[in-house]
């Protein structure tokens, strides 16, 4: 099997701070990590190759320092690592990003599967995986919770929906997006980490993947983020004081009655 995993480097924090003046993410001093859902994607790809043979190719679009995330992916078992890195790619929305990734994947050539995380921790759009499948004209299965069966031609996947599961079969090649419950990403051993330090990371540019610069980065992005801000908290919580639990419960019931909730 030839499996491609798309990997994004994101800031290591769940409560990302936003600069109120520029409306952009404050990344200074925040360490970078592999997008957590992408770790599930890597784990799924590596497991499939361990079982069926083949290779896993890690593809990351990002600045030069994103190389570190690719090295971590190599330590986890990714066989080949490609960093798509070009100034022209900066500021891309999900359309431009999925286009650029699709171009890089065309250069990689034939493949059986693409794994992505369900969404990135920082942008949270969840659109790049599906967008990529559309650019490539292949089927997609999002929110994978279990890979049930893989044959030469097909894959069967259990998807997690808001109110249940759905089992989907698709022909290969196919794109799958991973959720946290898909697996537990491995912690690579020390030996693989050392090997990954020396691994070759292929550097690709827009030109080398024949991407039109007008369709990449800020230029290729019809979506404009007008403003990003931390919402100010408008409703204040209230802690009900009282000597005993009964007294507090009584006050609570009165308040709920006043608010006509009860």
């Amino acid at each position: 099997m030839r499996i491609i995993v798309c990997i994004k480097q994101v800031p290591d924090t769940t409560d990302v701070k936003i600069n109120p003046e520029t409306g952009t993410l404050i990344r200074d001093g925040v360490p970078s990590i592999i997008n957590p859902f992408d770790e599930n994607a890597i784990e799924a790809a590596v497991q499939l190759v361990e079982e069926h043979g083949g290779e896993v190719i890690g593809l990351c679009m990002g600045p030069p320092q994103a190389e570190q995330s690719l090295r971590e992916a190599v330590a986890m078992g990714v066989n080949r690592a490609v960093l798509l890195c070009d100034r022209a790619l900066a500021g891309g929305d999900t359309l431009a990003t999925s286009y650029s990734l699709a171009q890089a994947i065309s250069r990689i050539g034939d493949f059986d599967l693409i794994f992505c995380g369900k969404q990135a921790f920082d942008g949270d759009t969840g659109q790049v995986g599906p967008g990529l499948a559309e650019h490539l004209g292949i089927p997609q299965i999002t929110y994978a919770i279990e890979i049930e069966e893989v044959t030469d031609k097909e894959i069967q996947v259990r998807r997690l929906l808001a109110d249940g599961f759905e089992v989907v079969r698709a022909t290969l090649p196919c794109l799958i997006t991973a959720i946290k419950q898909l697996n537990e990403p491995r912690m690579p051993g020390l030996k693989n980490r050392i090997k990954a330090k020396k691994a070759e990371i292929e550097l690709w540019t827009c030109e080398s993947v024949s991407a039109q610069e007008s369709r990449c980065g800020l230029d290729g992005s019809p979506t404009n983020v007008i403003k990003t801000f931390t919402p100010t908290r408008q409703v204040e919580g209230e802690i009900i004081a009282g000597e005993t639990a009964e007294e507090k419960a009584g006050t609570l019931i009165d308040k709920l009655r006043d608010a006509q909730v009860l």
Partner: protein, 382 residues
């Protein structure tokens, strides 16, 4: 003089700490209460390549130093004391093969130990030979190309679960200590069986079994070092073993100390956090200071070993200091927890029970002081 770790060491220790915090620490109580050898933790340690830290790459190790081995041991012990004890006892089988083994012995036995494919154990103690290690009664009489082993070992950590054993026996009982000889013995060799697994005060999931040898025939090529040099093998092994014990004690004391700090910052009495009371602060300050003293002694002993310098006295000092510090710190951690500390819902009562082990195994505190005094008087008499 430089007390800083290199960037590589720093990165290594941070990564191992992440592993210990995520994969060992949350399950430490469960591991202890299972009363079962922690094979699942052993498997994780193996996947992380933690069983061959100072062993050459050629034999499947990481080719790092004993300092790295020690710091990692501290982190593992802080994460899970039981797994830490497995890690420490494992080295007692690896190190003598690494130090004294022939090329063939290293290939055959050191490699599976370094990769963690096999677990190791060191069998010295007998019912009648504890502190007096030279007086082992187990015999190993040469018969053609084999040695015939007879006798019983007790308390052996990893016993029964380990595949590879270093066994100290006497090949020439008429020569006393000069007959003591070391062997590499495999689990499953005919005439080698396991007896009682000790029920202990703590470390409930660690195996400490009796090893019973009944006309067990071991090939002569499994003789480690030379006939009659088993006491030397023992002493060399225990020198490194003391660093391992010391570091286990540091790791345990560290978690106990952290638990005490955390509790003192949350528990309120007399309308304020108990950490605000000067007497609690006095305890915390002492705990932290003693812990740091023990840790530095231990790191230095490991560093001396890596430099190829003499470290016998320093390793003994580290072991006696840290084990006693561990007793002190864990006891104070219970004290700071008050009544809750005495109850099993909090881990500090377990820490206090576990701490006692470090003052006993691999040379009691009394024996460590003997070693230190012998050494310093020898230096003074020069």
């Amino acid at each position: 003089m430089d007390f800083a770790f290199t960037e590589d060491q720093q990165e290594l220790f941070e990564y191992v700490k992440e592993f210990c915090d995520e994969k060992l620490k949350p399950f430490a109580d469960e591991t202890d209460r299972a009363h079962e050898y922690p094979w699942d933790k052993v498997a994780l340690m193996r996947e992380m390549d933690l069983f061959g830290i100072p062993i050459a790459e050629q034999y499947g190790g990481m080719e790092l130093g004993f300092l790295e081995w020690a710091v990692i041991g501290e982190l593992v012990s802080a994460g899970c004391t039981t797994t830490g004890a497995v890690y420490g006892a494992h080295m007692l089988a690896e190190y003598p093969i690494m130090y004294f083994g022939t090329e063939e012995q290293k290939e055959k036995y050191l490699t599976p130990l370094a990769t963690g494919e096999s677990i190791g154990a060191f069998g010295l103690t007998e019912p009648m030979a504890g502190s007096d290690a030279g007086s082992v009664r187990m015999t190993a009489i040469r018969d053609g190309d084999e040695y015939v082993l007879n006798g019983t070992k007790i308390f052996i950590t990893n016993g029964g679960d380990a595949e590879i054993y270093i066994i100290i026996a006497n090949a020439r009982p008429d020569r006393g200590m000069r007959g003591v000889t070391a062997f590499i013995v495999e689990k499953g060799m005919e005439g080698f069986e396991f007896g009682k697994d000790e029920e202990k005060m703590a470390f409930k999931s660690l195996s400490n079994r009796e090893l019973i040898f009944n006309d067990c025939r071991v090939p002569a090529e499994n003789l480690l070092h030379k006939e009659g040099r088993g006491f030397q093998v023992t002493m060399e092994t225990l020198r490194v073993g003391r660093i391992g014990m010391a570091i286990g004690a540091v790791g345990l004391a560290q978690v106990a100390y952290e638990a005490a700090v955390e509790y003192s910052l949350t528990r309120e009495q007399f309308g304020e956090r108990i950490a605000n009371f000067q007497m609690i602060q006095y305890h915390l300050a002492n705990m932290a200071t003693e812990l740091e003293a023990g840790r530095l002694l231990t790191y230095r002993a490991a560093w001396l070993k890596d430099q190829g310098l003499e470290f016998e006295k320093e390793a003994a000092m580290a072991k006696v200091k840290t084990s006693e510090v561990c007793g002190y710190v864990t006891s104070k951690a219970v004290q700071i927890h008050g009544g809750y500390g005495y109850c099993c819902d909090y881990p500090v009562e377990r820490y206090m029970r576990e701490a006692k082990l470090f003052e006993i195994v691999e040379g009691t505190s009394e024996i460590q002081r003997l070693v230190i005094a012998n050494q310093l008087l020898k230096e003074a008499r020069k």
